[in-house]
């Protein structure tokens, strides 16, 4: 009975309720966790940071006010961006796919990627894109769900994306998997912190709100798939953690 979700677009009416649960998008991570990770990068004021999958912009506001960074937000979901546009003023927001962004090569000092890769069938495409837009020596902060029990993955869990409501465990990788992908794309992994406790807390809050994880899933998925999502959570034992990585000086494209 673990939480098996992050920023899944909830059914329309539920959105507000879900946002209030985590003070922003439905993510196990907290704004403090993001701030702590960014602090460790020691970025200059005005440094350029891309928030890839910015969702409702919870991190963007903090990054601007606390670190005075030059933040660009990107999300595939127009609806979320729309909400954000209404709230913020003059934010650089872009609607685009994580694998094909309109930013110049080597233009960013840092990329923040919170709970995005596990939702993508093509994490590698996104990483290649991140490697492209980062300057050599630029930083990547990657927080995500990861699979702690990969041997629990059966054929039934194999990537079958199904429309916009995807269970993030479909694509979640185990820790070595993420690390090897990173190094293949020319990143050096600087650190990894486990924060599974936050995921458990989120799951607990969902149970308080919906009665059970299965009931939560049923607000998003048809019952049969909700049951499957729960079962997948049981087998794969999702955890949550933050990777810090740096793009090598020589690697990268363009």
């Amino acid at each position: 009975m673990h939480a098996t979700l992050t920023n899944i677009p909830p059914a329309p009416g539920k959105r507000a309720a879900l946002r209030s649960l985590t003070g922003g998008p439905l993510r196990p991570g907290t704004i403090e966790l993001t701030a702590a990770a960014i602090r460790r990068l020691g970025l200059q004021r005005g440094a350029k940071l891309l928030d890839m999958g910015c969702g409702y912009g919870a991190s963007i506001n903090m990054l601007q006010s606390e670190f005075d960074l030059n933040v660009f937000g990107l999300d595939i979901d127009l609806g979320k961006l729309g909400d954000l546009r209404k709230e913020g003023s003059g934010l650089a927001l872009v609607q685009a796919d994580a694998g094909r962004t309109p930013f110049l090569s080597r233009s960013m000092d840092a990329v923040l990627c919170e709970c995005v890769l596990s939702l993508l069938g093509c994490a590698d495409d996104a990483l290649r894109e991140i490697a492209r837009v980062l300057r050599p020596g630029g930083f990547l902060v990657l927080s995500d769900i990861y699979v702690r029990s990969p041997e629990g993955r059966g054929a039934e869990d194999r990537n079958q994306p199904s429309g916009p409501l995807t269970c993030c465990l479909d694509y979640a990788m185990d820790r070595p998997g993420v690390e090897s992908l990173l190094s293949r794309r020319g990143f050096e992994v600087l650190s990894f912190e486990d924060h599974t406790q936050l995921l458990t807390r989120l799951a607990a809050k969902l149970v308080f709100t919906f009665g059970s994880l299965e009931a939560y899933w049923e607000t998003l998925l048809p019952p049969a798939r909700a049951a499957k999502a729960c079962a997948a959570g049981e087998r794969l034992k999702p955890g949550y953690g933050v990777f810090l990585a740096r793009k090598g000086e020589r690697h990268g494209h363009g």
């Binding site: 009975m1 649960l21 458990t200 607990a204 149970v207 308080f208 709100t209 009665g211």
Partner: protein, 69 residues
């Protein structure tokens, strides 16, 4: 900030102060996890109501989840 509200219709009043129960922000804790929720309580003495369905339903589920380690 409270995310979770459990404010059922109820006949219970504070037996000590005779007050009606009103919403009150309360923390509950289990195995190192604290959750903030809104429960009915006596404004004066702070006596709280955790109804049976909450205790044996969601609270129990969450206890199980947190024990799951």
């Amino acid at each position: 900030m409270s995310d979770l509200s459990f404010l059922p219709e109820t006949n219970w009043r504070c037996g000590k102060c005779g007050e009606k129960l009103t919403p009150r922000i309360t923390n509950v804790e289990y195995l190192g996890n604290t959750f903030t929720m809104e429960l009915l309580a006596c404004e004066k003495c702070g006596l709280v109501l955790i109804p049976e369905d909450l205790a044996r339903g969601r609270m129990f589920e969450v206890e199980q989840l947190l024990e799951d380690k």
